[in-house]
Symmetry: C2
Subunit: 673 residues, 2 copies
């Protein structure tokens, strides 16, 4: 079995080829009439313009960190860092290309061939993202494991790859999250509220930016997030395997421990292939079940492969139970997110609209807070089982287990925004109510999968951050991190500050960026004659809106990004590595709670509004609906900007600490006296 690890990058390349073939298949589908093709082009160009500008800024950041790492840590780490950043960027580009090509084709399929065909196109467009994330991760980690993995000391260079992936992810999530909500709020506020034109109306200059935002936030942002968890969990587990204390006579198993995460995800990718293509057999049943079953198919095959791998390597079977606990808790957290964002709590929030917006907001906040405890108990259960069946190694491998079938699960996540955009395009191109009905049904399904995906992203981020934390403590030579030491307590408090501050900053940023969008859309309606009246041939200047959203998103992502990267370094220097350990735990705990609170609260408000729009409590246009819209608007930055940023934040802080850990081995902190 051990001899299989050098094939990891090759399997990754095979995955990329499969992804490319799927992309070619999607691209071959008809993309409709001229209007649809134009819209596709505009969304594609807008998305690429955002990515290009974002990556230009990131190039400077990557170069600076490369130099710092090469000078301060090791040149090998620095090189791995750059490749991690590049792989994350590549995954984003591939996913976005496929998504922006898939939306018009989904609309066309819905228009000409019906629901099953439309589901097929959007699902496979998403599969390009899912398989790219998994394959690029395998290529990168597999390659570096092949180069550095043979030796316990050189294995630490692989950590640079995870830091590269994390850095890009933070900026992609924060920048993308700000972009998408600024565009969404801006377009809605001026279009729907002020000008009184419908959603996705082609006269609205902000609509293209809004559609671009769905891709930027939900495809590139979510992809970078999951890519980071995937890579981070594998690398953390390799690092734990390389440094953990083994029982006497077990030293010969160390290479197996180190190789296992790689072998597990290789099995995960193979299972994902089967899962993804099983849609062909499943699509005749109802779409909701079909999507869900693809991930179950992947999970079952994965479980069988994993059990055999562990047996063949001669590792304790407890490890299997750790992996299984991670997998199951990941699913459980996803389903809990679905419960809180579309179950009874949503109706409770909707009913509060009877007494106005304030009670809608209060009950949504309460639902968000309440929604934290079951997922956190789930995370605690996973930790408990993993630790008791496989020791400290179990924490890492459980995270890997949660993420191994990402090729299949991420496909379903990426499907959502594609279906959403297809709906937008069919509205703007005037494809008629029948088509819109199909795309709406696909979109509704996408909202459910998005909620599950968000829950899963939080759960995997939590376990990955903990795995990285364990790897950090071992790599920095900490036997204990003692919270009866007040400096560690200070570290925990300081750790709690970072997510709170990042949440405050990103929420404020959305407001600022949205305000600039509002001004620009108002200006266009005022200054472009005939635009609002829908005069033939008069088109809005969508490009300017896209650039404004891009510029302000990128400006606003810098401060939270720098805080996340620098704060662990500052704490290590002034308070020492024990306090840094405390900080990582404080940030992880606070980050997980805030992520759940914001994602679930935001999702619940969104669906409470939709529940009223479906005709309950007075329906659309009633004062109850207005109250629910307030909740939904508050929830927008919660669920799509600040909440998701938490996932990355906690992983990035942990991975930065892991990378600098070798420097901290004999370190006590400047101010520690």
């Amino acid at each position: 079995m051990l001899g299989l690890t050098p094939y990891a990058p090759w399997l990754g390349i095979l995955g990329l080829i499969v992804a490319y073939l799927i992309y070619a298949y999607v691209k071959k589908q008809p993309n409709g009439n001229q209007t649809m093709q134009d819209l596709e082009e505009m969304i594609h160009d807008g998305a690429m313009a955002f990515l290009k500008k974002e990556y230009t800024y990131l190039a400077v950041f990557v170069a600076a960190v490369f130099i710092i790492l090469a000078a301060g840590v090791a040149w090998q780490t620095a090189v791995a860092f750059v490749t991690g950043a590049c792989c994350s960027i590549a995954a984003g580009l591939m996913g976005m290309t496929s998504a922006t090509r898939g939306n018009s084709r989904t609309a066309e399929a819905a228009n000409k061939k019906g629901q099953a065909a439309a589901l097929n196109v959007s699902y496979f467009s998403g599969a390009v993202m899912g398989l790219s994330v998994a394959s690029l991760g395998l290529v990168g980690v597999g390659f570096w494991f092949w180069i550095f993995g043979e030796n316990v000391t050189t294995a630490q260079y692989i950590n640079g790859f995870a830091m590269g992936a994390s850095s890009i992810a933070l900026f992609a999530r924060v920048g993308g999250g700000i972009y998408t909500k600024a565009a969404d709020v801006g377009a809605d506020l001026v279009g729907k509220v002020e000008a009184g034109i419908p959603e996705d109306d082609p006269r609205n200059p902000g609509v293209i930016a809004d559609n671009v935002g769905d891709n930027v936030g939900d495809i590139a942002g979510m992809g970078a997030d999951i890519f980071e968890s995937y890579v981070g969990s594998i690398i953390a587990t390799i690092a734990i395997g390389a440094t953990m204390v083994l029982q006497q006579g077990q030293e010969n198993l160390r290479m197996s421990y180190m190789a296992l995460p790689l072998l597990v995800v290789m099995g995960g990718l193979l299972s994902s292939f089967v899962g993804v293509f099983s849609i062909q057999a499943l699509k005749s049943i109802n779409p909701a079940s079909a999507l869900r079953y693809t991930t179950f198919v992947a999970a079952i095959i994965f479980i069988i492969l994993t059990y055999n791998t562990i047996s063949l390597l001669g590792l304790p079977i407890g490890i299997f139970w750790a992996i299984l606990s991670g997998l199951l808790v990941g699913i459980a957290i996803g389903l809990l997110a679905e419960y809180y964002t579309s179950g009874p709590p949503v109706k409770k929030i909707a009913s509060q609209s009877e007494t106005g917006p304030a009670t809608v907001v209060i009950s949504g906040l309460a639902v968000g807070m309440e929604s934290t405890y079951l997922p956190v108990l789930g995370i605690c259960t996973a930790i408990f089982i993993a630790y008791n069946t496989a020791g400290i190694y179990g924490i890492g491998i459980a995270a890997v287990g949660m993420l191994a079938t990402v090729g299949a699960t991420m496909t379903v996540d990426a499907y959502g925004p594609i279906a959403d955009n297809a709906g937008g395009i069919s509205e703007m191109a005037g494809l008629g109510p029948e088509t819109r009905k199909i795309t709406d049904s696909l979109d509704a399904l996408g909202n459910t999968t998005a909620a599950i995906g968000k829950g899963f992203a939080i759960g995997s981020a939590a376990l990955t951050a903990l795995a990285l934390f364990v790897a950090y403590t071992q790599a920095s030579g900490l036997k204990t991190i003692d919270i009866t030491d007040p400096l560690v307590v200070i570290g925990v408090f300081l750790g709690g500050i970072i997510p709170m501050l990042a949440a405050a900053l990103t929420m404020t940023s959305v407001g600022k960026a949205a305000f600039e969008m509002v001004e620009e859309i108002r200006r266009q309606f005022r200054e472009i004659p005939g635009l609002l009246e829908g005069k033939e041939g008069v088109k809005p200047d969508s490009t300017t809106c896209v650039s404004i959203a891009t510029a302000s998103a990128i400006k606003e992502m810098i401060l939270p990004g720098l805080i996340a990267v620098l704060s662990p370094v500052v704490v290590a220097i002034f308070l020492g590595k024990q306090a840094l350990g405390g900080m990582l735990l404080g940030a992880t705990v606070m980050g997980v709670f805030l992520a759940l609170f914001m994602a679930n609260g935001g999702g619940a408000w969104d669906n409470a509004k939709k529940y009223i729009e479906a005709g309950n409590f007075g329906g659309k246009g009633s004062s109850n609906h207005k109250a629910a819209v307030v909740g939904d608007t508050v929830g927008d930055p919660f669920k799509d900007t600040s909440g998701p940023s938490m996932n990355i934040l906690i992983k990035l802080m942990s991975v930065v600490s892991l990378v600098i850990a070798p420097l901290l081995l004999h370190w006590v902190g400047l101010l520690r006296w």
Copy 2:
């Protein structure tokens, strides 16, 4: 110096006598015309009815815990527990009696003699509360120290006193918080919004309940909170002194370490006497400065007394710096709370009303989140200085330093709601605009002192909880609590759950209780003929409103209370004492952040609304004002129910752990395998 400790309870009794004399002075003041006397009687009766009902329920709880403690821990602890509960109840009763007698007399003084006289009456009414809290604490802790303090092993029985104080405090804060907001929201919603009658209008059946609520929440609740911090910090420091490891040849200093917190607060009470009576000399300058200067006078005298005490005892002078750091950080956190709830952030929130309620809510949430980091840095600074100047003992004594002059600071806190109620009475009794102007100015001043008081309460709760945490680790024989142990990590996560859940529960409770109030007020307007029209002789049935608010507040306080008391016990049993240590830290960190977030966010919304009402951004009645009212309503349970509950929660969990610590000395937890 050591010989002075037996005088502690006598000094406390002296303090009670002074408080009684002040009360007699207040009572002697004229309480106005028949309407005012009737109103005073109704508010007084309502408040006492609430307390009576609350204490009836608590008697059952206290009896049950007494039996459990006597059987499970020690009968001495159980007896101390009951006395702690009784002292907390006594402090609440004294404060409420004085406050409810003081409000009509303040109104009358404002009516007949002007601002200086009204300030005088309301300030001295508050002083009864301030001095009662400090004196009762000294009586209780001093008595038990006299009985058990001579011996290191018997000293642990004193912990029961703190647990008694904490238990009552939780129910008083949660129940009081729910009561006050349910009454407030209910009265406003039906009165101001639906019936269109002004605030504090005597026709509104909910107005008396609202006024009772101010006393129940802000006097009894705040008093119990501070009493708990005061008692908790002293007892934690005694416990740390009793159990900490001393350097060789320093064992003779142990009694000094144990006695010091008592001696420090004795100095604090003496300083508070001077501070309180200095108002007589200061009242000719402007009221805002006068109030502030009384606390400065107390602080300066306290610093001088403390320095000499430490010198005379032959203890290291580093302890003095620890005390000073606690005192200064307490003031700093209070001032930061003032900044966030009345400085530039308030104007920022008000400006967001231009784009509707959603942006008001978003910016308020962002301000609340942002407002956490400076106070937390302050707490970290206090920990850092205290630890580096006086070791682990420093954490405890810094908390004592922050709280020692509570006689003076709590007087200012209690002044606020008295001034507020005086305003309500002068409105209801129709004392005219001149009087109302004076009471309004006193009320505005009270809002500022309330913000500072809330910040101070959070800061002192944080330091007290940490001191109790340190005492717990020592008493349970934990040399280290290691966060590289996954069970401790689970403990930290579980600790985070409790404040989140308590916040969710209490916010929901306010909604439920307010809803019942709304129904009742609507019923009265509907069924009592001539009430809404203001027909001569037709009076609302205020008593029923008071009972409804009382019943629902008491029903809703039970679940959060039980969670707080039982969760540490459950975690100790199933996961062991290390995990319990992790839990306490997790709960403290999460609790402090949520307390700051909610208190400051809520305060900022409140003042943003008032800023608009003062004529900015369109003024009262504009759509901007409506948007700001939504923020204010969301902020109500934030700042007056859920936020303040956090303070008690974290202290109560720590003190329960400290009390059961002796049982855990050789304990590893049922499920730890």
